[in-house]
Amino acid sequence: MTDESAAGVMTGAQSSQDDVLVRVDNLVKYFPVRTAGYVRRTVGQVQAVDGVSLTIPRGKTLGLVGETGSGKSTLARCIAGLIPVTAGKVTFDGHDITNLSRRKMIPYRREIQMIFQDPYGSLNPRRRVGAIIGDPFAIHRTVTGNERKRRVQELMERVGLNPEHYNRFPAEFSGGQRQRIGVARALALRPKLIICDEPVSALDVSIQAQVLNLLADLQRDYGLTYLFIAHDLEVVRHVSDSVTVMYLGRVAESGPEDVVYGTPRHPYTAALLSAAPAADPDAAASRQRIILTGDIPSPIDPPSGCRFHPRCPKARELCGHEEPPLEVKAGDGPTHLTACHFPVEAGENLATAAAARREAL
């Protein structure tokens, strides 16, 4: 990422400077690709996250969307300190928490909790639910004995579980109930930030709504801040105050939820929104899908310049050479940032352009 783009983010974030809980500056995470065997030579880098900056205001929800492989989950794990960061900086509540040792990270672990995607994989099948939810208390040695049991049962009640099921095993619960267990565990230490890594994508739609409403209630009651990752655009729209769209390890566009959904400026955002299924069949019929060519490229060998240019209906020569900075485009609000040389204009028909491009290939 170039210097101007970083500066662009700074100016963009200026307005909410006063009460920022999480600030990510130019975060880079490369995973080395090594040969097998004893002498493991590094033969490449998976550029999972490549220069991402974002801010999350206190008490708000930032939605993070993007295709599989766009680096959403890697970014979340970097913020949560679960994997070391290659470069860049993560600031939490004014403290630099980048690559802290496990011991130094412990106080921040109480403040930052995660809810995981898979309600089956994220609960230890051999431990009772009471022990799982009580784990945060045990690890941080805050409450013990009967008091711990009481607190755990309170939490279970708060997330809509029967406190009498304290002694059951995760296998005895449904997917939605299991996700509530995950929420209770994340809530135990009254964190400031909860990172939700696709918390509802493994659930039925009716259960999704219940869990999303629970998360919204908890946010209201405890003043929680959420980083909400999903690939379901409607879910993100429902929960988020602002949205960041990622493509191949970089931010394509970010801004307030209604602005990004209403007037997307990045062609990728526009294509993504046009691909989301609409609940109303009349709207679905009249809508024109922007069908992109090809697949998401390999993050080991990402395209030069703008990473979206090989698939972009608006790509020109410049896009293959020069990386577009993430900045405020003409006519946009101060918090709406787009990384594109040729942003989508109002009333422009991208679907036709995309179709023409497919013809040409």
């Binding site: 004893y38 949560a80 679960l82 496990r102 990270m105 412990i106 672990r109 109480r110 930052i112 909790q113 995660m114 995981f116 995607q117 898979d118 994989g121 994220s122 609960l123 230890n124 099948p125 051999r126 431990r127 009772r128 639910v129 784990d135 945060p136 690890i139 941080h140 009498e164 099921h165 304290y166 002694n167 059951r168 095993f169 005895e172 995950g182 565990r185």
Partner: protein, 343 residues
């Protein structure tokens, strides 16, 4: 959903609401399945009886008034000095070549054999689990060193090493326990390492890390309970190995030294008398056989009871029982469940 699961659900519906709150743990379920396995139950009873006899050996000795190391040249040997047969002169299982009570010596031998078997397996299991967990969880250099060391131990011709150690250090109970323990951890360690490698990638391990859990908490609280099942099966199957290993060393004269009785050294002494005193060879050999067989069958039973795949075999039996019960108290809802189970 398989038939067996439906059968199982039907069974838990019948169980009624009073057990609704406490979840049945893996161990409770295993125990239920194990109890319905006749072979495993017989093996368990055999082991309990054998352990009981070993513990009660001094009491048995005083019951028949024959301490283990006292020879009875007058009553325990015939005119030419050979052992007397079972039932003669109050020797229930006969005597050995110096006129000692064979039954009492076999029970005293059981003390040594079972003690060595259980203690070495316990040491080997603890060491194997620790090494396997550490190698698997930490990975990298730690794993490379520990895993290669494990491979080296597994590749070693252990009888040769055991014999040379016994010769160099002199035969004693401590040396035997040390040697057998040393050769029993490696197999367990390898299994535990493999399981740990796959378990540590689970999302709940990441969840524990995100809560701030340290490596040892994760290893022992989150990973260990998930691999206790294979370890328990392996350990049960290692006990008879250790018992036979001890008998082998004692048989070769490098283990328990006479006059202390052990199945190995009784058998070693008996081999010169098999033509004149069959009982001298047969009874200690039978004790060894029954013990190892019982542990092996129990190990197989535990493995079957823990593996949900074998539920199907037991479900057939349970199904038959459930059907007969249903015929007595013909509830329509249960009949429905049975119908869908059959479908």
């Amino acid at each position: 959903m398989s038939i067996s699961e439906l059968e199982f659900q039907a069974a838990s519906v019948e169980g009624g609401p009073e057990q609704a709150v406490e979840g049945r743990s893996q161990w409770q379920l295993t125990w239920r399945r194990l109890r319905s396995d006749k072979v495993a139950v017989i093996a368990m009873i055999t082991i309990v009886v054998m352990v009981g006899l070993a513990i009660a050996a001094p009491a048995l000795a005083s019951l028949v008034h024959h301490p283990p190391n006292i020879a009875y040249p007058n009553t325990g040997e015939n005119a030419v000095g050979n052992p007397v047969g079972p039932g003669t002169n109050g020797f229930w299982l006969g005597t050995d070549d110096t006129g000692r009570d064979l039954m009492v010596r076999i029970f005293y031998g059981a003390r040594i054999s079972l003690f060595v078997g259980i203690v070495t397996t316990a040491i080997g299991t603890l060491a194997g689990v620790a090494v396997g967990l550490i190698a698997g969880y930490f990975g990298g250099v730690v794993d490379a060193i520990l895993a290669r060391f494990t491979d080296a131990v597994l590749a070693f011709p252990y009888v040769v090493l055991a014999l040379s150690l016994a010769v160099v250090l002199g035969p004693s109970l401590t040396v035997i326990i040390g040697v057998i323990s040393f050769f029993s951890w490696a197999g367990i360690s390898r299994i535990v390492r493999g399981q740990t490698l796959s378990l540590k990638e689970k999302e709940y391990i990441e969840a524990a890390r995100s809560l701030g859990a340290g490596p040892f908490r994760i290893m022992f609280i989150d990973i260990l309970p998930n691999l206790l099942a294979p370890v328990l099966v392996l350990a049960t199957l290692y006990i008879p190995n250790a018992v036979v290993f001890e008998a082998t060393l004692s048989y070769l004269g490098l283990g328990i030294q006479p006059p202390t009785a052990s199945w190995g050294n009784i058998l070693a002494a008996a081999q010169n008398f098999y033509q004149v005193a069959w009982w001298y060879t047969v009874f200690p050999a039978l004790a060894l056989l029954i013990t190892t067989l019982a542990f092996n069958l129990l190990g197989d039973g535990i493995r079957d009871a823990m593996d949900p795949g074998t539920e199907r075999l037991l479900a057939a039996r349970r199904g038959r029982r459930a059907r007969s019960r249903r015929r007595k108290s013909a509830g329509p809802d249960l009949a429905d469940t049975a119908g869908s189970a059959q479908a």
